[in-house]
Amino acid sequence: MSPERRIGPETLAAYLDHLDRADRAGAIALAQELLADGVPVADILVDLVEVAQQEIGRRWLTGSWSVAQEHAATHVSELVVGAVGATIGAPRRGHVVMACVEGEWHALAARIVAEVVRAAGWRVTFLGASVPARHLVSYLHQTGPDAVLLSCVQPNRLVRAARMVEASRAAGVPVLAGGPGFGPEGRWAATIGAAAWGASARDAVALLDRPLSAGTHIGAPPPPPDDSYVALLHRRRELVRLALTAVDPPEETAEDAATGIAHLVDALIAAVRVDDDRLLRDFVEWQAEALTSRGGRALLDEVLGTLERALTEHPRVVARLRAVRG
């Protein structure tokens, strides 16, 4: 590829401009021009669509874009991914399944991974956003793929991801984990039993190029979680309710608050599961950042304090909560 065909800042700016105006036709035409210029599918998806998506996420996080704007822009990118993906030829390698962890609805990044892996010659089945574990299991037994690519963007979904990894291992299929939800450098992927971790679509292709040895089909089982983990899982809903009562949000924001608290409790359970304070700390910091533009940090500390008081019989959990309080 000659340098002028690379995707530069001007192309990115033009693409973002199409997204800003929810201009489907323009965005697709731009992608098709790049294809016609000989830019590989993977480059368009990763260096243009995905980079633009990160910018969209940033705009939403800082509050400069509404949820609706974000959804509309994402939809345009979905169409672009579909149009670019339609140009990929027939598969010539094994079968890979791509799934988003249950509860994860932002599927664009996963779709990009699926298409990039497909462009590398694999037959890819994209099971979509928020895949329930039991659907994944029945799919694996029915089709016996070579590997599962599992996307997890937010670490609070890690407990569900762990369940899906367990189910895949039980079906004898190795899991390649992807996404920031598995921690910095994917440090929690191995803890929950995944065979490997990749940060990007290109990593996924590289991981699949390595032989998936029979050993990765089983590997060492993840260590058994300690009993405070089981207790927390059991008390999850009760904890959410307690924290919600303590915070006592105005009625119009009660549901948002309940969702946010549930995520925080899930992040706490996940931190216990992988035995790493970093998970909870990163999550709280990320939430605090998201809340700065939409509320305050005091709410978070109130929730953390309530959880601390409710969990006095689990000193290690209390210590984790203390460690992240502002």
């Binding site: 037994h141 039980a170 079906a171």
Partner: protein, 529 residues
């Protein structure tokens, strides 16, 4: 013994020593054998008084003497000996040597039994993991390597419609994964015992002859060379042999002993049973998949002048089929939309869903007006054999969509007992299209209602099933998602294209449920443009 009187009589001392079950050898300060007892003469005849221990004919003991080690263990004249050195007064020393042959054999047998049990346990859990045939075959060839053999091959006949030729899958030490291939019947016939094993008969392990090597060489890894011994075991299953397991060892490795043969047979039996279970599951899954494909919501057609999107989440059923459905049929002037909810759940409901969709598909050819089509469908469903006994009915929305000049759409909507669809206007504001009507297929004189909706460019019509509004969850875990929340969700997504709006509502409902079980959920959204 300390403090008791010791015999001063040399002969008595010798008799006492000779009565011991341990061999006793004493050495003088120069390391020369001074005294041996009867057991020592028996076990270590080479050690006679005067022999230099460091140069004696028992290499392990000589080595211990040279290096100053206090213990040794060795195989000597067919017996297992274990010796311990104790210092005596005046720089003399004594070696106490025990015959541990039987103890050793018992330990060996115990360890072998343990590793055998561990192997079978591992095999049991790996073979039990997958219900997929290929995965089971992979486990069957990877498990015996290297424990039982250096290369394992399973020769099997895949189920029809695959070609009836012997297929093989192989795994050898050092391979990164199993390799597969297809061979001819001639190859299989030329290997002694293989045809018999594929018929379910057992043959004894045999050395691999040069003549046969050429025939099965294609199945062995390149560069593997001539195998030492080969053991072929049938893989029996309830429905006849599932395949044959070929285990081969390199020439430098000893052949299969009786215990290993028994273990290999046992393993082949388990692998055969697992393979048979996987085949049975495969047939069932295939059947289910065919059904599923005919019952899952369809890919929506692209119709000019309008954008459509559907969303579907089945209740807790791994088949992902249920009683909610939608369909879109192209018509000359636009399209016909259908969204319905059949009474009941799971496969039973899915079958009725199939019948309703099939009937609609046919009846629309003779009647395109939605309310009249509902009446016709009602009669068709009630007319079905034993319809009364089954008491099955469905709520249904039909919408006949026509393009209008100026880019808008005109939709004639007819309802049979279905939740009222919503219209989100481009300028903001949500309207409900109240219809009512009775469920379809319940009563012969059921009444249906219709209404007309106009969609300007940017307007959106959302039809949904009660699985959306009746999803229970939220902070109290019991509250229904409800129409108000749905209206809010639609309002907050104003201006979104149908696919993004449907996705957004699905996400909100999913968050509301927070992992709790739910009914089938279906949505169909339509916008002009």
């Amino acid at each position: 013994m300390a403090g008791a009187a010791l015999p001063a009589d040399d002969r008595l001392a010798q008799e006492l020593l000779d009565g011991l079950a341990e061999a006793v050898v004493t050495v003088d300060p120069a390391g020369v054998v001074a005294l041996v007892n009867a057991m020592a003469i028996d076990l270590l005849p080479e050690l006679t008084p005067g022999v230099d221990l460091a140069g004696c004919q028992v290499p392990a003991l000589a080595e211990a003497a040279r290096t100053g080690s206090d213990t040794f263990e060795t195989e000597h004249h067919g017996r297992r000996l274990r010796g311990l050195r104790r210092p005596l007064a005046a720089e003399r020393g004594a070696w106490y040597v025990r015959d541990v042959t039987e103890e050793h054999a018992r330990t060996d047998a115990l360890l072998a039994e343990r590793s055998r049990t561990a192997f079978l346990a591992r095999a049991g859990s790996r073979l039990g993991l997958s219900l997929h045939r290929d995965q089971t075959l992979r486990a069957a060839v990877t498990l015996p390597v290297p424990y039982l053999a250096d290369v394992a091959v399973v020769v099997h006949r895949p189920a029809p419609p695959a070609e009836d030729a012997p297929h093989w899958i192989r795994y050898a030490t050092g391979d990164s994964g199993p390799v597969t291939g297809v061979t001819g019947w001639r190859t299989v016939e030329s290997v002694p015992g293989l045809v018999e094993a594929l018929d379910g008969d057992r043959t004894e392990p045999s050395p691999w002859l040069d003549a046969e090597l050429a025939d099965l060489a294609e199945v062995l890894p390149t560069g593997f060379g001539r195998p030492g011994t080969v053991l072929i075991s049938p893989m029996p299953s309830a429905g006849g042999p599932a395949g044959a397991l070929v285990l081969a060892r390199r020439p430098e490795r000893p052949g299969f002993d009786q215990r290993e043969i028994a273990l290999a047979r046992e393993f082949a039996g388990r692998a055969g049973a697992a393979l048979a279970a996987a085949e049975l599951y495969g047939e069932q899954a295939h059947l289910a998949r065919v059904l599923q494909n005919s019952l899952l919501p369809p890919e929506l057609p692209r119709l000019p002048g309008m954008t459509l999107a559907g969303g579907y989440r089945a209740a807790g059923d791994s088949l992902r089929i249920g009683g909610d459905f939608y369909d879109v049929f192209p018509t000359g002037e636009g399209g016909l939309l259908a969204l319905g909810d059949v009474c009941g759940k799971g496969v039973g409901a899915a079958v009725l869903t199939g019948r309703v969709r099939q009937s609609l598909q046919t009846l629309r050819l003779v009647e395109q007006r939605p309310r009249e089509l509902l009446e016709l469908l009602n009669r068709a469903l009630l007319d079905a054999p034993d319809a009364a006994r089954r008491a099955q009915f469905t709520t249904l929305l039909l919408g006949a969509v026509r393009r209008e000049p100026g880019g808008g759409l005109r939709v004639r909507v007819a309802g049979g007992g279905h939740p009222a669809p919503l219209v989100a206007r481009a300028g903001g504001g949500i309207e409900t299209v109240r219809l009512g009507g009775m469920p379809v297929g319940a009563l012969t004189d059921a009444r249906f209602v219709d209404a007309e909706v106009r969609l300007a460019p940017g307007d959106l019509l959302l039809a949904y099933t009660d699985g959306v509004t009746e999803a229970r969850g939220g902070p109290t875990e019991l509250a229904m998602f409800g129409e108000d929340r749905l209206r809010q969700a639609v309002a907050s997504g104003a201006g979104l294209p149908p696919a993004a709006l449907v996705e957004r509502v699905l996400q909100l409902v999913d968050e509301w449920l927070d992992g709790q079980p739910h009914d089938d959920i279906a949505m169909l959204a339509l916008a002009a443009g």
